[in-house]
Amino acid sequence: MSSLQSGSVSPKPYVDPTPLPDNVPKVQELGLTSAPLKSAAFFIGAYCKEFNEDFMLCKAENREPSHCLKEGRRVTRCATDLINKMRENCLSQFQEHWNCLERNNQEYYMCRKPERTLNACMFEKLGLTKTIPGAPAGQKPIHEVESPIFKAVQK
């Protein structure tokens, strides 16, 4: 035991190939990576609000993975549904926005121009708006401010 000081042996990667048992309904996972997810984040929040809140409340009760499988499946299905709709309607704006995010350290403030076109397209086609929960009530939300302090170099 004393020979295994923390850091003396590097952790070995372990992959468990066992799939979920058959009594758990199968849901296809969402194959989106981080930048498209970040781009779609606020729309997932607007579209899947009830399912997401259900899942969070369930997790707050009990952090065991097996406790919240049903709510988790609902979240996955709702997010997949929204992504499919987004791709159907606003694919080019979506791709432009997440490519811009990926070039800029995934910061929202650097990519306001593609974000505005994406927000306009999403509102027109799917009726979803981006709202920042917890934003100060009286002021304009930061993504709608015309001349922010933190911004990209070129307008």
């Binding site: 952790p11 990667p13 372990y14 468990d16 194959g31 990576t33 992504i83 791709r87 997440w98």
Partner: protein
Amino acid sequence: MPVPWEALIPFGLLTVMFGASGTLLNLSTRAQNLGKPIRFNIDNWDEMMMKRDEQLTGHKRGQRDDPAPPPGFETSSVWEAHPTR
């Protein structure tokens, strides 16, 4: 009157040396990040997401926007196992 061009050699040398090392650093970091600028201020959430990106695309900076994951994604998570004895 002859121009003192020898005095400009150090300026030239410094410009070339700074330029070369800066360019080399830029190219090296971009090459490691699939042609994109390097990511900074990465916290644990970003580490976790980049690990997931590697599972999905094979590279930490690879991105895809296809909602259907590649086959085997559900069981390809990598955990770090430590020896106990």
